[in-house]
């Protein structure tokens, strides 16, 4: 039973999937059943693996850069209320812009290479980190801040030694969210002009009416997303456990 636990969500997902297909009689050109998709997955294993590797790289890059940039921005914004007032709304704005509006600008600046894709993915991944972390940075318990004030620590030292460690749970919470958004970030990045990656493959398959290939790629993307989420979850839990040793 215990050994089955990690497979449970997978099983449940398959059951839901097959159930939906049966129950609502979803035609296979909209949502093929698991068996058909598995067949497509096997048939196109090499193709999908190649594209998955590209997307995997983008996800890793995007998440890593996103975490670092998000961390930096949140700290910078927490240090300066003026920056918060001026840049905050611009950040919010970047999240509300549909990709097709930004894509031509990004490709114009970064070209069609990895750059524009990573930029696009970053734009999506980086925000939850910034937002959650900033939120936590602005909520350091007042008594600690008071104590630090008596001790004579201000500015960036207070930030480094007090507010940042106190906000760790918020940062991790944002990182977990970012891990969820990282795959779609990469896929949307590929949307912006790519000739590789799972997002590209899915678009292609969709255009060619090869729904089973599209869902095979989607399954791989899902596995990537869930594995990533779980990994970040475990890392976050470990970090929290360690801190109160």
């Amino acid at each position: 039973m215990k050994a089955l636990r990690p497979a449970l969500p997978l099983l449940l997902g398959l059951v839901l999937w097959q159930g939906a297909v049966w129950l609502w009689q979803v035609p296979s050109f909209i949502l093929p059943g698991p068996v058909r998709v598995a067949a497509a997955l096997v048939d196109n294993a090499g193709l999908i693996a190649g594209h998955a590797a590209v997307t995997g790289l983008e996800v890793a890059l995007g998440l890593g850069l996103g975490a670092v940039l998000g961390w930096l921005s949140a700290v910078a914004l927490a240090l300066s209320p003026a920056a918060r007032g001026a840049i905050g709304p611009i950040l919010v704005f970047t999240q509300a812009v549909p990709v097709f509006a930004l894509a031509p600008i990004l490709t114009l600046w970064f070209g069609y290479g990895l750059g524009s894709k990573v930029a696009m993915a970053l734009l999506i991944i980086y925000f939850p980190v910034t937002s959650s972390f900033l939120d936590a940075l602005l909520q350091t318990p007042a008594p600690w801040l008071a104590q630090a004030r008596v001790m004579g620590g201000g500015g960036w030292r207070q930030m480094w030694y007090l507010r940042i460690p106190a906000a760790l749970p918020g940062f991790l919470s944002g990182l977990k969210l970012a891990a969820v958004y990282a795959p779609i970030g990469a896929v949307i990045g590929e949307w912006v002009g790519a000739s590789r990656g799972l997002g590209y493959l899915m678009l292609l398959a969709n255009g060619r009416a090869k729904t089973d290939l599209m869902f095979a790629a989607l399954v791989v993307l899902a596995v990537l997303a869930i594995a990533l989420h779980r990994a970040v979850d475990h890392l976050a839990a470990a970090a929290l456990r360690r801190r109160f040793g």
Binding site: P143, G153, Q158, F244, G245
Partner: protein, 288 residues
């Protein structure tokens, strides 16, 4: 430290008025108030939260370089006093005079041991001691921190996080952190309340030794503690501030000396007798 001290202490008998041994004064002090010499403290005015008066017009004077104990019923405003002096009484509106008697700002000269231990849960005991130095950008002295932890009886617990310490152990870490701050003015808010008698006596001795010559304002509920440590003993009630006579012997006094025990008894009787329910209208005069 030949400075005019505006307070009633000079007139009172039995108060030792010799200059404290000023261990902190630099060889060649600058002209003007010496930032390292312990200043007296003054707080004159009234404090409010919103529309509610926390304490009426009061006049608190703390002698420079002396140990002043502040007793009083729960909720009368003792912690608020300390917070005002430390400059962290957020949400309290204070109308009046407040600060060091030498006129220079108090900021940077005060260490505060608050009523709650305020340890940072993610730091070890050692790092909790060093946080002050780190916040000020000084080189943290790990050896000094460990030595201080040993003096408060926590050798071997330097690497523990607060969660793995008992209540009294945490209080001692907080005490050690206050002591290592090395400030001319030290505000202590019930610093020994979670300790057993034996440990308490040891910690009192330690604090007395290390803080000798500084300006101390020490809030406590323990009459024996005030009788042991106080150069001055103040009683704050809802009717105002009263000064009580400490034993004549120089502090710290032995806990079982007859004079200490007698003073403890007297203080206890006083505390048990004093009017501890909030008075309808606080008395206008601060010091009686």
């Amino acid at each position: 430290m030949p400075r005019a001290w505006p307070g009633p202490y000079g007139q009172r008998a039995g108060v030792d008025r010799t200059d404290p041994p000023c261990i902190l004064r630099p060889e060649n002090g600058p002209v003007g108030p010496d930032r390292r010499a312990p200043p007296g403290l003054r707080l004159r005015g009234r404090a409010r939260v919103g529309a509610q008066t926390l304490f009426g017009p009061l006049d608190l004077a703390v002698a420079p370089g002396r140990w002043t104990c502040l007793l009083g019923p729960s909720g009368v405003g003792k912690s608020t006093f300390l917070h005002l002096l430390a400059g962290i009484a957020d949400g309290i509106s204070f109308a009046g005079d407040l600060g060091a008697a030498d006129g220079a700002p108090l900021a940077g000269r005060v260490a505060l041991m608050a009523q709650a231990d305020m340890l940072l849960p993610w730091l070890t005991a050692r790092d909790n001691l060093l946080i002050g130095a780190r916040l000020r950008g000084e080189t943290p002295d790990t050896r000094a921190a460990e030595a201080m932890l040993e003096r408060v009886g926590l050798s071997g617990m330097a690497a523990r996080k607060p969660r793995a310490l008992s209540g009294g152990q945490r209080q001692r870490v907080a005490l050690a952190r206050t002591l290592i701050e090395d400030r001319p003015v030290v505000l202590l808010d019930e610093p020994f309340s979670a300790l057993d008698i034996a440990t308490r006596v040891r910690m009192q001795d330690l604090a007395a030794a290390l803080l000798r010559g500084r300006t101390i304002l020490h809030v406590t509920h323990d009459p024996a503690e005030a009788a042991r440590l106080g150069d001055h003993i103040l009683l704050l009630t809802h009717r105002g501030l009263t000064e009580l006579a400490p034993p004549r012997a120089p502090a710290p006094r032995p806990p079982d000396a007859p004079e200490t025990l007698e003073a403890t008894g007297a203080l206890t009787r006083h505390l048990l007798a004093c009017e501890c329910q909030p008075a309808a209208a606080p008395s206008a005069e601060g010091l009686t």
